[in-house]
Amino acid sequence: MFKKLIEKGIEKSPWLLHINTGSCNGCDIELVSVITPRYDAERMGFKLAGTPRHADIVVVSGPITSQSKERLVRTLAQVPDPKVVVSIGSCPRSCNVFHGSYSVEGPLDRYCDVDVSIAGCPPKPEAIIDGLAKAVEILKTKRRGK
């Protein structure tokens, strides 16, 4: 029963950590708009956490630049299990227009397993919410599999 309660908690209260790995800020603004009154992701329990230690879902936006690569890997390591990595926008998937730049070392899946990938440049808030909802499902399975 206790396990069920915890699962319920995991389902209802995913906290996000947002990492910007060289994004143009487009996706960041869309992510922030998700928690504004119009979309209000808080009604599903989403909350932006201030530190990786509190996070369940890591949201990565931007191509992985050579400056941010190390920081990204380190921060991802510091998130306690179970955790889910979500990429927002095209940049973490394919480096988008930054592909081939001398300073870009992306895409994201070179450095970690990406569980959910939300497409768009930038993706719509609805899409982000949908992706996060999928991430919560994966989070639950990860917890169960443990």
Binding site: E7, M44, T51, R53
Partner: protein
């Protein structure tokens, strides 16, 4: 045997551990809902803090390399314990689990500092520089609100003491008796400034906006909590929720209490409802309409306006009004 069972019931169920947890989580949920509604959001479900707490119980606990392990893990529990202990001492209308007085207002002030100290010690033990900045801010916050809080309590002591036996009292029972006899304290107009001062103290005490300088998640990554994860973090969040309930409940006991009804359950409900009202006035509204202050602004604010209000009350009470 029966006595011990009764005692255990008091400590574990009501008005101790279980009641505290339920009431605290509920109040925290109601507060979040209220803030959301004030911002035209739908807001999280009322049970959201409960879900958060449950989720954190299921997460991994990471102890950073620089942390002093035992202190790091014990700090949240100590904070929780002191809060539960306080809840045993606060009478709900005429209901109190002790026949004779065992703790007075000063004991409660000190017990209520322990959660703050636990947060500070825990954050300090985590070894993070962010936590270092956070505990410094938390301590300055404690220093700031303690002055008006102390004056408010002295004012109440004087008022009650003069009316009952002409002697000083900090006994909560005496305060409740006084209100049963003369009506709620807030009805005394000389006490209104003190009540306002205490209402202003509550948000800083529970660490909500605009006084959550210590746990500013944007600037210093939640300050003392930066390294906490899993169950210890959950207990800290629980402490936060319970503190909200205890502080508002204390306000109700000090200012809004009265004769009450003959049924304990009804009294508890009334107390809880009043606590929600106090939460709304002093925590939720402020949270919805203000932005975070800087630490030195907080200090300056508390040592001027609430202190002046509390002193005004003290002077009025001293003059026999």
């Amino acid at each position: 045997m029966n006595n011990i069972l009764q005692f255990l019931f008091y400590i574990l169920i009501f008005p101790g551990f279980a009641f505290c947890v339920v009431a605290g989580l509920l109040i925290a949920g109601i507060d979040r809902k209220l803030v959301a509604r004030m911002q035209k959001r739908i807001g999280p479900p009322i049970l959201q803090p409960t879900y958060d707490f449950l989720k954190l119980l299921g997460k991994e606990t990471i102890i950073p390399r620089h942390a002093a392990r035992k202190v790091y893990l014990a700090a949240p529990v100590v904070g929780l314990l002191s809060l539960v202990t306080v809840s045993l001492f606060i009478p709900i209308f005429n209901f109190s689990i002790f026949d004779k007085p065992v703790a007075d207002l000063i004991v409660i002030i000190y017990l209520l500092t322990i959660p703050g100290v636990a947060l500070i010690i825990g954050g300090s033990a985590s070894g993070s520089p962010y936590a270092g900045v956070g505990i410094s801010r938390e301590m300055v916050a404690i220093l700031s609100y303690e002055l008006p809080l102390v004056i408010v309590l002295l004012t109440i002591g004087r008022k009650v003491g003069m009316a009952l036996d002409g002697n000083i009292t900090f006994s909560l029972k005496a305060i409740v008796d006084y209100q049963a006899q003369y009506g709620p304290m807030i009805a005394q107009w000389s006490m209104i400034p003190a009540a306002i001062a205490l209402l202003l103290v509550i948000p800083c005490k529970v660490g909500s906006l605009p006084f959550d300088i210590a746990e500013a998640e944007i600037e210093i990554c939640e300050g003392p909590l930066v390294e906490y994860s899993g169950p210890p973090l959950g207990i800290f969040k629980l402490n936060h929720a319970i503190k909200m309930f205890i502080m508002t409940s204390l306000f109700v006991t000090l200012f809004l209490s009265g004769a009450g009804t003959n049924f304990v359950a009804l009294n508890v409900l009334i107390q809880f409802a009043l606590a929600v009202v106090v939460t709304f006035i002093s925590i939720s509204v402020l949270k919805a309409i203000t932005a975070r202050l800087r630490v030195e602004q907080t200090f300056k604010f508390y040592w001027t306006y609430p202190t002046a209000l509390a002193l005004l009350s003290l002077v009025l009470v001293w003059l026999g009004l």
